[in-house]
Symmetry: C2
């Protein structure tokens, strides 16, 4: 039993996966099963980094917010992001606005509809060394995504290595 | 001459237009010529209300931010917005992201490109009584829009009377 526990810790350490208790979020919320991240409290009050529209299967409007460390780093333009950085991505259904279209006189207005999910990137260069120093989390209606889904996060972010694995640029 | 000045003040008062010095923004910045509004300092640090995509002639991605009074009112859901509310609308060019599309494997990603302009709605029920209690401003690269353009703001916002002339709903 002792050997199994040792092996589990060794594997987790090599993989850079956190077995420890999560360091973010409210204690009564579920943690991300792969990186141990909870929903950071107060994230909805964070400042705006940028906005985007993902068409295709996503079909969302999204806002990317950052905690103070993230915003400071973006504005100073000095990469890599330091430990403690958290970037939040909020996505809502891409929804035509009948109300706005009436005023514009044409179907041109798309607004944020119901929330789809929220994602977080948490920088901890030691804890998440195996994934570029970043831990990834996704929550749908407060529930974390499963480990299998979360394993794909870093694969998609790897091409953005030159910008410390972050795709979003700061919008002035 | 005295009579002309009196008439101007009288007309401005009836129209609810401010002739006084602007109350917001940095002193070295130009004021909106119709409502006397300057760019509110620190507005880029305000919290997010929602996001949108205006297609058509606008072709922008936009974020709507609010000062503390605006955010509090939105979250409490109690209209009308009190005096002191400021709502900011930031618009950037709707721009395909080659970098993101490579990762998605399809042309689906649109991000905030160069800034187009910023707009503000400032609530002052006395000062702006003739326009629903709101003053309107628009700045392109720091320069205010002319009075003729600003006169059209309230006409478009009038249909949203039920939501205190504000179109944007809060995105959770």
């Amino acid at each position: 039993m002792k050997r199994i526990a040792f092996l589990l810790v060794a594997v987790a350490t090599v993989a850079g996966i956190a077995l420890t208790l999560p360091t973010f979020g409210n204690s009564n919320e579920q943690a991300d099963p792969l990186f141990g991240i909870k929903i950071p409290s107060g994230y909805r009050d964070w400042r705006l980094i940028s906005v985007a529209h993902e068409a295709g299967n996503n079909n969302d409007l999204r806002a990317v917010l950052g905690n103070d460390v993230a915003i400071k780093t973006y504005r100073e333009g000095k990469l890599p992001f330091p430990d403690g950085t958290i970037i939040a991505r909020l996505a809502w259904a891409y929804t035509p606005s009948e109300e706005n279209n009436k005023v514009f006189g044409r179907p041109q207005s798309f607004v944020a509809g119901p929330p789809i999910n929220i994602q977080f990137m948490v920088k901890d260069s030691k804890k998440y060394a195996a994934t570029g120093g970043w831990g990834f989390a996704q929550f749908t209606d407060g529930k974390p995504a499963d480990a299998a889904s979360l394993k794909t996060c870093f694969l998609c972010h790897e091409p953005a290595k030159a910008s410390d694995f972050v795709f979003t640029h700061y919008a002035p």
